[in-house]
């Protein structure tokens, strides 16, 4: 069912999107304020992906760049809509809706900003199911929808079209270079597709999931229930069914560099017990990629590695990590469509140069069961499409 999102939903959505950002994705607080400034008392129509018309023309919108830059250089405001209009002009076709390419972090908000400015509805789905650092790391691309042509816009009104055909890596590489020239943050429109392609290639209902997670954490705190149980309960009804506590401790070191347009680094979390030498090491490239407990892998991309406040469960981004913070680290399983061999090739460990193989955070047996269900579901979608055609 489609539903209306108002400014009152934005704080919960921002919290949930930060959790799904797995440390990266940029601070949605700034995105939230950008939407608030434009939206006022109006609302935004959110479309359920199962219900959209197969011919609905969807142009996703997003911000790209390094999170360390986003918290410092705020947009002028018009850039994402300018990117969308530029791509429409290039394609000679108007969009009927926009959509996130990434449900974690600030990119949960950018399509809402575009919607608030243009009146377009937003499809409740995305192409990452979390946050990833590169534009090619999309389920859209994995299942055959390509990013090109891409329109990119900067705060001085600069516009660039990139068309690399089916080569999404090359598209990412060129767009990244332009983003660095534009000062480390730029706004884009890409992965234009039909409604039928959304149904086939997008991770469904991730906006409503982020909102539900953010709301569950807040309500649990207000009622003095465990926010961690609230997270687990909320996830059981989604495609992200498993959550595991990987570590509890204190941030003892954070090393970060802004290189090649990314915020890269390592965070070390030490045990709260000073006599224990247990530690968890998290390597990040904008997002958390791998968590090693005393050297042993406990979670790895594409599964979610989320650092949260040890009591309130407020998610903490890598740029928000500070020495001495008390934190809990959660591992959350991803939908089966994000763990197929093709998906792992696009955004699994090897895509980040990690040598460790993918291991499901919930263990192999549970993962195998989820994969079987996905295959059944995927067949059902294909059958349904066949029936409609």
């Amino acid at each position: 069912m489609s539903w209306e999102l108002t400014a009152a939903d934005l704080p919960d959505l921002a919290r949930g999107a930060t959790l799904l950002g797995t440390g990266g994705g940029g601070d949605p607080y700034i995105g939230k304020m950008l939407v608030e400034q434009v939206l006022g008392d109006r609302s935004i129509t959110i479309l359920d992906p199962e219900e959209i018309d197969d011919d609905l023309f969807v142009i996703p919108t997003a911000q790209m760049g390094a999170p360390t830059v986003m918290i410092e250089k705020i947009p002028a405001g018009f850039e994402p809509t300018l990117a969308l209009r530029t791509l429409e002009e290039h394609l000679g076709r108007r969009a009927g809706a926009t959509m996130p390419i990434e449900c974690g972090g600030i990119n949960s908000m950018i399509p809402l900003l575009v919607a608030a400015e243009t009146g377009l509805p937003v499809v409740d789905a995305d192409g990452m199911g979390r946050a990833f650092p590169e534009l090619s790391m999309e389920t859209f691309a994995v299942y055959g929808v390509h990013g090109s042509p891409l329109a990119i816009a900067g705060e001085r009104g600069e516009r660039v079209i990139i068309d690399t055909g089916d080569d999404d890596r090359q598209m990412e590489w060129l767009a990244r270079g332009i983003t660095i020239r534009l000062g480390g943050v730029a706004h884009i429109a890409e992965y234009a597709m039909r409604g039928a392609d959304v149904k086939r290639t997008a991770v469904p209902r991730t906006i409503s999931m982020a909102l539900a997670l953010g709301r569950a954490i807040r309500l649990a705190r207000e009622d003095h229930r465990s926010p961690f149980e609230a997270i687990a309960t909320t996830l059981t009804t989604t495609l992200y069914s498993h959550v595991r506590e990987l570590f509890v401790g204190k941030v003892s070191d954070v090393e970060r560099r802004t290189t090649d347009g990314f915020a890269k680094g390592v965070a070390v979390i030490s045990s709260l017990d000073p006599s224990s030498d247990e530690r968890l090491e998290i390597v990040f490239q904008n997002e958390n990629l791998i968590a090693r407990k005393n050297g042993k892998v406990v979670a790895i991309v594409p599964d979610l590695i989320c650092v949260v406040d040890h009591e309130s469960a407020e998610p903490i981004t890598t740029e928000g990590l500070r020495y001495g913070q008390r934190v809990r680290v959660l591992g959350i399983s991803t939908p089966a469509m994000m763990r197929t061999p093709e998906a792992l090739q696009a955004f699994g460990p090897t895509a980040f140069g990690l040598v460790e193989p993918f291991v499901p955070v919930e263990g192999d047996a549970a993962a195998a069961k989820a994969a079987r269900t996905f295959q059944t579901d995927a067949r059902a979608v294909v059958t349904a499409q066949g029936a409609r055609a």
Binding site: Y29, I30, M33, L34, Q37, A66, T68, V69, I71, E72, K73, I74, P75, A76, G77, E155, R156, I180, G183, G184, R221, H224, S226, V254, E255, R256, R257, T258, T259, D309, E311, S312, E314, I316, E319, G320, R322, Y323, G324, Q325
Partner: protein, 517 residues
């Protein structure tokens, strides 16, 4: 011996300490001119336990003046926020996330100008001196007396903030204070800018207060160094306070929690500090105030300070009581309590009058509140207890029972039993816990420098900087075995060669009372 003084909006408390032992403690109404209150307080301390001026090795002062000014939106200078960053950042101009009443109280004006740097040190756009002069002329026309200047990526390169300050200063003249964001905050434009605007709004008040404090102490024949406590519980000298009053911002809660820990002997508890104007509620975990994690909101404004996680309610001894609704605060008569409260012959019904009417305190003339309806008095106290209990309940994160400690002069407003939490602990010297907290404040050493870190040598480089900060804290007077690193921040500066990184480290330890600083 040393002296700890807490200057609140309502009361000035002072303690004479010998290390951590309290030799004398006094409480006085804060006077309109803070000087008189401090002169009286030190005079009374001397009467309680004689000392000579030269026996005092240090005077530590904690004040809630600055936060009270912000919470009550009073005594704030007309302030302009000027940001350098156009054409970027236009979507969220300065003051965008501020509560409307506070913007009004500051007569605040927001200006965007060209300037700022990209992450790699390229200019976003060059400064436009004519644009800045025209903004400054507009500030002048609107009676602006303090200016906060922020610039995109100024923690990486602050040249443009300094240059803009020069240009704006030429138009506005030397009497207008200018605060620069790179001196106040870290990466995160909106949070750093907000802290800078708060600082700017407090600059005039800061000079007034520091002048008063210094004069008062010297008048008592004490020539020892004077320190003010900062948010993190460490001390800073008077000149620093004039420039950066925002750094004292949360010292009240820090001092009261440290004081509550010392006086109650509890290490895990909720601390309720009721002063004249506000009630501050915080949690003590293993003897240390629980800190906020990411975002710190002060009077509804988002900043990125490290400070204790405190919930403030506008309830205090000087709070004005609404005679119809029985609601208390947030308006307070403040230091005027000794003339305005009913028990002191005034005409304003305050929370203190209610406490006296209920027989909870013996202050002023009880006959002046004898006419109050006992049912009404009960209603007010029940309402206060319910609001405080609800706030403590919001602060705790599990339903497990937690002891509750009440400190501060206004804690007489609180019943002995609190809904949900049971008995309230009231330690000895509870009324002067803030002054005790200020007196045990710590000293710190901070290193803030750009280092070129060779590949593979990061660990060594960091170890060196940490050792340097620890040495600095010891040189500042910290007892060596008490020093630890409390803050560490690393900002890569990609446009400089050689892996240049700005490293900030703060080491903190207990002030060694045995010798000079």
């Amino acid at each position: 011996m040393h002296i700890g003084i807490d200057v609140g909006g309502t009361n000035t408390d002072a303690v004479l300490m010998d290390d951590t032992r309290t030799l004398a403690a006094v409480k006085h109404a804060t006077t309109p001119d803070v000087t008189d209150g401090i002169v009286q307080a030190i005079g009374d301390l001397r009467a309680g336990h004689h000392f000579d001026g030269e026996q005092i090795s240090a005077v530590m002062i904690g004040t809630t003046h600055f936060i009270n000014a912000l919470v009550q939106a009073k005594h704030l200078a007309p302030t302009a926020a000027l940001r350098l960053g156009l054409p970027a950042t236009k979507a969220l101009p300065p003051l965008v996330d501020w509560p409307a009443e506070l913007v009004k109280a500051l007569s605040a004006r927001s200006y965007l100008a060209h300037g700022g740097y990209e992450f790699d040190g390229r200019p976003i756009s060059p400064l436009d001196p004519d644009e800045l002069r025209s903004h400054a002329a507009d500030m002048k026309a609107h009676g602006i007396r303090s200016v906060a200047i922020s610039s995109v990526f100024s923690p990486v390169n602050h040249d443009l903030e300094i240059e803009a300050a020069r240009i704006v200063g030429e138009v506005l003249g030397p009497d207008v204070a200018i605060s620069l964001s790179h001196e106040i905050g870290r990466i995160g434009l909106l949070e750093r800018e907000n802290a800078t605007i708060i600082n700017a709004a407090l600059r005039e008040l800061a000079s007034e207060i520091v002048d008063g404090l210094t004069a008062a102490v010297r008048k008592q024949g004490i020539e020892a160094p004077i320190f003010l406590s900062q948010n993190d519980g460490t001390l800073m000298d008077e000149d620093y306070v004039r420039l950066y009053p925002v750094a004292t911002f949360a010292s009240g809660p820090t001092n009261s929690m440290r004081g509550a820990a010392v006086t109650s002997g509890l290490t895990n508890c909720a601390v309720i500090d009721i002063g004249g104007t506000t009630t501050d509620i915080g949690l003590l975990i293993n003897g240390f105030p629980r800190e906020t994690s990411n975002e710190v909101k002060v009077a509804g404004i988002r900043t990125n300070f490290r400070m204790p996680d405190v919930l403030s309610l506008g309830i205090g001894g000087g709070s004005i009581v609404n005679e119809e609704t029985a609601e208390v605060g947030p308006e307070s008569v403040g230091y005027r309590i000794t003339t305005e409260a009913l028990v002191f012959g005034g005409s304003t019904l305050t929370a203190t009058d209610i406490a006296v009417a209920a027989g909870r305190a013996d202050i002023g003339d009880p006959s002046k509140v004898a006419h109050l309806d006992p049912a009404f008095v009960d209603r007010v106290l029940t309402r206060i207890a319910a609001r405080v209990a609800e706030a403590v309940d919001r602060m705790r994160t599990s339903p497990d029972p937690i002891p509750v400690v009440a400190v501060g002069g206004g804690s007489i407003l609180l019943s002995d039993e609190l809904p949900l939490f049971g008995a309230v602990h009231r330690p000895d010297n509870y009324a002067v816990a803030n002054a005790i907290g200020a007196s045990i404040a710590q000293v710190g050493g901070e290193i803030d420098k750009v280092y070129a870190i060779e590949p593979g040598r990061r660990d060594e480089a960091i170890a060196e900087v940490r050792a340097e900060a620890i040495d600095k804290a010891i040189a500042a007077g910290a007892r060596p075995n008490s020093v630890s690193i409390v803050d560490f921040d690393e900002i890569p500066i990609p446009y400089l060669p050689g892996n240049a990184t700005r490293i900030r480290v703060k080491a903190v330890g207990d002030l060694d009372m045995g010798g000079p600083r």
